[in-house]
């Protein structure tokens, strides 16, 4: 029988259809109990894998009862303090049958230990556990901010996990190289390719250096590396990027790491499509954007993802509601089950356009990788600030293009007029809010556990963790023991903080400039000049990023824009307390404080900031920016916030214009 080119054949030569990718929804909020219900509902709706979102304290290694955790409990994910929370979270969910992805980095070892402890407690065969801990600490230093320890110790933890998993949970992916956030932070496709692959090599080099595996085991290890990427709106280019990824990974694993088995060289990846391009304006347009972005990573069989999660149409407004997540899941189901997408061999094989584009991406990405290699690899390029500065630069260029109307975003800088969306007219405003009282439940579970656990066992297991950390032993064993002894997330992380220290990476904003010269820029600069004439000094802004939310793009762009406008800018990076931010503003006698918050904790943090200003008897105006829903504006204004900027305010000079006006208003009193 003649084989037809448009038919897909399986290994035995029979016509077949490709199985669908794993459908996931990045989910988790409020507390373990609520999240458990959400997971079970999602699975019943046809979701085929779990993707757990953890709240910021869990990600940063703080228990819910830590002061810094309080405003963040259950906000952007589920809070996990002890094994008890995992018992609740996975109640009635057969973890041995699940493929569970945990978006966790700084505390990934701890969460995996809890998972293992839970499986052992349930009497399951631990070797059957399947899933992924994200554990890509490098992108945390660059883009997302939930790192804890310095690079060398973070890498050590990752290698410990590879060593442990290979022998005990062979189907687990101990780390997943996540270029997703790099694109969110402004990375071009070339940068996404280069930085992700350089990270992959850094991990493989560290594993090799440990020298704990035979070559066969090392090959298996390479086979366990998976990637988590971003798919943007330029979907043809994104599809080509995925093909480039596969080709380059093949070259790297075969050429540099001598992996003989084809199976272990395969580029395995999951996707979350881009949130950066989602707009707060006309949010209904986001539905189409998400569909198009999903096509980029599903259309081409040779570049098809293994797992997909789609954001919700309203993610630029707030956290999605369960209904919004359901809508996203339905899109995947339509794509996979209604269309004929999975019935064909690769559609783009032999396309000259695609081939040429892929070649181009590979060439440029290789150049960039070479540069990183010459610096001594990805870890060095983090420590010297190179990668971060490159991303801030790309982001500034992208924003300048949007501001100059060179990059069209429908509903944002073009075709702005429209009928308001009926989707947001629901009584809940189309957005989701975590019940502030729900944190009590988490705290109660935590205090109950602390009251009834065996204190001696806790102390012993933590002592072992400390010893093992000092003596270079694999930390997984002590961590699982800690999990079983009901140690808390904060206790685990604090013990290691004591030994490893905490990391502060470079902010990447220094030396950056904005490629923006327009009438608006001159207008703002004129106002700045007037201010300077009137007061004898440049306006001074302190840009602050309080709390545990590490998404610093907004703060970085404001810092760079303010400098461009002629301000003196003080920006000290992420994870500062409101006390630290106010102290900077007071000591510097700043004219304004600009605060960026994306985690939904704006009200609590505003209250803390104003309390601190009161302590210093300082009357410095404060403006807020971030994902702040309209209904919260009044509350923030009543606390004293002068202006609120949301993703709608993408025009950087409009923002600066409002800020200089606020600063100028104060002149009569301050001259």
């Amino acid at each position: 029988m003649e084989k037809k080119d448009h038919i897909l054949y399986d290994k035995t030569g029979n016509p077949s259809k490709e199985p669908a990718w794993i459908f996931r929804t990045y989910a988790g909020h409020t507390n373990a109990k609520e999240s458990n219900e959400l997971f079970r509902k999602n699975l019943a709706k046809g979701q085929t894998g779990l993707s757990i979102a953890f709240d910021l304290p869990t990600q940063c290694g703080y228990s819910s009862d830590h002061a810094i955790a309080r405003p963040e409990i259950g906000k952007v994910g589920v809070p996990i303090n002890t094994l008890e929370d995992f018992r609740i979270l996975f109640d009635q969910i057969p973890i041995e049958e699940m493929n569970t992805s945990m978006t966790i980095n700084g505390t990934s070892m701890w969460l995996l230990s809890l998972y293992v402890a839970l499986a052992e407690e349930r009497g399951e065969d631990v070797s059957k556990l399947q899933g992924t801990t994200q554990n890509d600490i490098i992108k945390e230093y660059l883009a997302r901010g939930t790192y804890i320890f310095p690079p060398e110790h973070s890498i050590r933890i990752i290698v410990d996990m590879y060593e442990y998993c290979l022998k005990r949970i062979p189907k687990w992916n101990p780390s997943n190289i996540c270029s997703y956030h790099l694109q969110e932070a402004g990375a071009t496709p070339v940068q996404e390719l280069a930085f992700a692959l350089a990270t992959g090599m850094a991990i493989l080099d560290a594993v090799k250096e440990r020298n704990c595996f035979t070559h066969e085991e090392f090959e298996q290890c390479v086979g366990r590396i998976s990637f988590f990427v971003n798919a943007g709106i330029r979907f043809i280019e994104e599809m080509c990027k995925m093909r480039a990824f596969s080709d380059m990974w093949e070259e790297i694993t075969k050429g540099i790491y001598q992996v003989k088995s084809e199976k272990y060289r395969r580029f395995r990846y999951g996707v979350q499509v881009n949130s950066l391009g989602l707009t707060e304006e006309q949010p209904e347009n986001n539905a189409w954007r998400i569909l198009i972005e999903a096509l980029g990573v599903t259309l081409s069989r040779d570049a098809r993802c293994r797992a997909l999660q789609l954001p919700a149409w309203n993610e630029a407004l707030s956290l999605p509601r369960p209904w919004d997540q359901q809508w996203s899941l339905r899109l995947q189901q339509v794509l996979a089950y209604e269309t004929d997408l999975l019935e064909y061999p690769d559609l783009f094989e032999g396309s000259r356009v695609v081939e040429s584009k892929v070649k181009d991406l590979i060439e440029n990405a290789n150049k960039e990788i070479q540069k990183i290699k010459e610096m001594g690899g990805a870890i060095k390029a983090i420590e010297n600030g190179y990668m971060k500065a490159q991303l801030v630069k790309s982001q500034a260029e992208r924003l300048a293009k949007i501001n100059n109307d060179e990059l069209i975003i429908v509903g944002k800088n073009k075709w702005k007029e429209g009928i308001p969306s009926p989707l947001t007219n629901d009584p809940d405003g189309g957005i989701f809010k975590v019940d502030p009282k729900s944190a009590e439940q988490t705290l109660k579970v935590l205090s109950d556990v602390k009251a009834r656990r065996d204190a001696k066992k806790v102390a012993e297991s933590l002592a072992r963790l400390e010893d093992d950390a000092k003596n270079g032993k694999n930390l997984m064993f002590a961590s699982v023991e800690c999990a079983k002894a009901l140690v808390t997330t904060g206790e685990w992380a604090d013990t290691l903080r004591k030994i490893f220290g905490e990391y502060r990476p470079s902010t990447g904003v220094e030396g950056q400039k904005l490629n923006l010269e327009s009438d608006k820029v001159s207008n703002v600069r004129n106002k700045v000049e007037k201010f300077q004439k009137a007061t004898g000094a440049r306006p001074k802004i302190v840009v602050g990023k309080p709390g545990l939310d590490g998404h610093s793009n907004g703060a970085e762009m404001i810092a760079v824009s303010a400098k461009h406008a002629g301000f003196d800018v003080i920006y000290s990076g992420i994870r500062l307390t409101p006390e630290e931010i106010v102290q900077s503003a007071v000591e510097e006698n700043a004219n304004v404080i600009g605060v960026s918050i994306l985690s939904g904790s704006h009200v609590e943090l505003a209250e803390q900031i104003f309390a601190e200003l009161k302590h210093y008897k300082a009357d410095i105006p404060v403006v807020f920016g971030g994902i702040i829903p309209q209904p919260d504006f009044e509350k923030l204004h009543s606390i004293g916030v002068k202006a609120i900027f949301t993703p709608k305010d993408y025009d950087l000079m409009d923002v600066m214009d409002r800020i200089i006006d606020i600063v100028t208003e104060k002149i009569p009193a301050s001259v």
Partner: protein
């Protein structure tokens, strides 16, 4: 521009600042940083003197070196040790960062690398844009330091960039350090440009690794041997090996700083600073006029400034 604060208000601000209140001090500094602050300076320093604050016992420490030498992180460690080990003393930091030449704006990032305790009255940190003077001090730094000396026992001044401008800091510091990194290759370049003769002491920072540190130490000390002939007394400046990562050498460096006394050159400081200012404002013509001006070396900057200006104006006619 007129003086912004009424007499009573100024007195209050000074009193509060002397008690470690940050906002009043910050406001005073902002006034000093303005151009034409002459009248304000006259009133302020007079008032300070009347209130018994003269800053004579305070020590000024200059930290200079190439960007990336880790000066800020090092200062962060020193501050931590200072607060822990010297409970009865106060310190201030002035960190100078370059400004943008396009917009004039600046990004002051030095706080990034320092983690300072909050509400701690014994330490005060202030950033300063270099006001388009690439590296080096800005025109108001000197007056800010004069003010800080009144309230703090130790003033650290940190400057970025490298070149002749950089060593400006040594002209107002009682003791100045050049911060370098192991095998940075800077030594030879510095030697050529004469910079090696300026600092009172050297710091090899980022000595995380022993062998590299030792190798660099020997290179540097050999280079410094050449100085023996030109340095009075023939003694070569000390070299400190430090690492923020391993905490190496931090306490030793702090102990050395704590033992420092206000330098004898303090008496000529006014002269040096006024010359610098006159040179910027009136060039060689001004300097010539200044050389004809007789002033009391112990007089205030503002008195000297007034007599210099009078002399210059006389010559203009």
């Amino acid at each position: 521009m007129t003086v912004r604060f009424a007499e009573k208000e100024l007195k209050e601000l000074i009193q509060e600042a002397s008690q470690g209140e940050k906002y009043p001090l910050a406001k005073l500094i902002s006034e000093l940083e303005k151009p034409d602050s002459f009248e304000f300076r006259k009133v302020l320093f007079k008032e300070l003197e009347n209130s018994g604050f003269n800053g004579n016992r305070s020590v000024t420490i200059g930290f200079t070196g190439t960007p990336g030498a880790g000066k800020s992180s090092l200062l962060g460690e020193i501050s931590t040790n200072f607060l822990q080990t010297v409970p009865d003393k106060k310190m201030a930091v002035v960190a100078i960062d370059p400004s943008s030449h396009i917009s004039g704006g600046s990004l002051l990032g030095d706080r990034t690398r320092l983690s300072l305790p909050v509400r701690e009255k014994r330490i005060f940190f202030r950033s300063q844009p270099s006001q388009l003077e690439l590296g080096g001090l800005n025109p108001y730094t000197y007056h800010v330091i004069r003010l800080l000396r009144c309230f703090f026992d130790f003033i650290f001044v940190e400057t970025v960039g490298i070149g002749q401008n950089e060593i400006e800091v040594s002209k107002l510091a009682d003791i100045s350090f050049l911060v370098m990194v192991p095998l940075g290759g800077d030594q030879i370049q510095f030697m050529k440009s004469g910079i090696m003769e300026v600092p009172d002491a050297f710091i090899l920072n980022k000595c995380d690794e022993e062998n590299l540190a030792r190798a660099s130490y020997h290179t540097l000390s050999t280079t410094l041997e050449f100085l023996r002939d030109i340095v009075p007394g023939g003694s070569i400046p000390p070299i400190f090996l430090t690492s923020v990562k391993t905490k190496k050498g931090i306490q030793e460096l702090l102990d050395f700083i704590l033992k420092s006394k206000p330098h004898t050159k303090r008496s000529t400081e006014t002269k040096v600073q006024i010359e610098k200012w006159i040179k910027t404002e009136y060039g060689n013509f001004g300097l010539k006029a200044l050389s004809q001006t007789h002033f009391d070396p112990n007089g205030s900057f503002e008195e000297v400034e007034t007599s210099a200006k009078t002399e210059i104006e006389k010559r203009y006619k």
